[in-house]
Amino acid sequence: MANNNSKVNPIISLKNVSKWYDDFQALKNIDLEIKLKEKIVICGPSGSGKSTLIRCLNRLEAHQEGQIHVNGIELHEKMKDIDTVRQDIGMVFQSFNLFPHLTVLENCMAGPNWVRGISEDEAKERAMSLLEQVKIPEQADKYPEQLSGGQQQRVAIARSLCMQPKVMLFDEPTSALDPEMVSEVLDTMVELAKSGMTMICVTHEMGFARQVADRIIFMDEGEIVEQNSPEEFFNNPKSDRTKGFLDQVLS
């Protein structure tokens, strides 16, 4: 990434980041810079470290070597302001992780109301407008378990957006969904991308990657093997590992 415009401060930067699970090295010397409004898709075979990488960005996982800066703040073990950093990073999980004892509306109001110090009325207004954005305002008073997987994932996206984050992380958001529900979630993500949100998505949805990504990152065995624009990535992959992976997912 030497040709980055150095005037644009990256919202996220990783320098030489490594992570181990006991003896197993999950991330190997990762260098990465992500600018505001950039849309990144991370792909790779399972066990390649892509989920680990994205989970290090809001420190759900700890890295052992190198530096991660988010919004100008370094993430490390002794930091005091991790909650403030996390409030600016939305995260959407494979398994939705909605709060089952709260209604859809309460799920979306919780963040702004509890930690952003926003009044209940205002939080409710914001939650409703975001539920409209993900096209399920009519489900506001239901509990998560009454919703389909696709609807739950859209609520999870709305819940994150209610915090008005600077970056959104997506960790395989469609992998747990029935096939017919994948597109409703992807459509929501495409719209979010159009609105200018900075997005980092771990996904196997190559159609989505082609349509939305500014940059596709291919990981294997804990390393970034290749990163490129979608056109170059799909039409002109450089590494053999990338070619092998693309053959499998595109066939």
Partner: protein, 325 residues
Amino acid sequence: MFVDTVVEDKALHKPAFLAGLSITVLAIFFAFNFTNTIFGEFLSPVIGNPEESGFFGRLAVSFVLTILFVGNLLLISFARLKIQILIVWLELFLLFLAFAYSFDLEIAYIFSGQPSKIGIMISKGLFTTIYISAVSIVIATVIAIVGAIAKLSNNGFAYAIASFYTSLFRGLPLLLQIYLIYMGLPQLGFMIDAIPSGIAALSLCYGAYMTEIFRAGIQSIPRGQWEASRALGFPFRLILRKIILPQSIPLIIPPTGNQFIAMLKDSSLVSVLGIWEIMFLAKKLGAKDFNHLEMLLTAAMIYWILTIILETIQARIERKYQQKT
């Protein structure tokens, strides 16, 4: 439990089982010899004087009893499930009454005196028992929440203190704890009354058991709930209070209800401190005229009724929480 959609014949309706059961029951009745009881008298037109009826009389009595017993089972087996349950309950209760009746009790003794003995048991004893149990369960719950969080924390001191506490108080008999607190604390210069020391012992003991219940309840909340809360930037206390504990409560309530019912009965142990609860009064009121069994049975009935009421309440609370989640 999962009830299969394929139903086997009732065991009672299989001739082989029925025959085997009848022979076994006959053998048991024969072995216990009911000839000299009321059953023998009933059959005296057939077997003559029960005392002299010998082998034939004994067999006849056992035979009639077996027919009554197995016939009763057969009849019940044709009823609907709810009716079956009701009849069996009633019959077992009647058997229990007959058992108590065979003690040759002076039932009127329970109602004698001014105020009546049962009146004292209910007005003083029942109140004290409920008061001690209720205060103890509240304190035990607070201890359990703190203990569970300490046991789940990675603070060495908190974990060590909490696990030492649960190990000690689950490792000693409750009766011993009651004595130790009541007699031990004054050695340290704390004069402590009987009721507070009884409450302290019950709270500490049940707090230790409930710590484990709460810990298991908190641990069974999926990891994803923590991750989602962390990712939203919620601080630890907020996650616990608003996300984790509310989801643990439906899991914690059934075993906690059991603990409360158990505590209600274990509160009888504090009678050794001279606290005027049900058990103490039963012993005290019965001892005067050597009518121990009358008063003990009264106490038994009060505990039993109280437990049934609590079980009903517990079932209702459980149903309410099941609907919500």
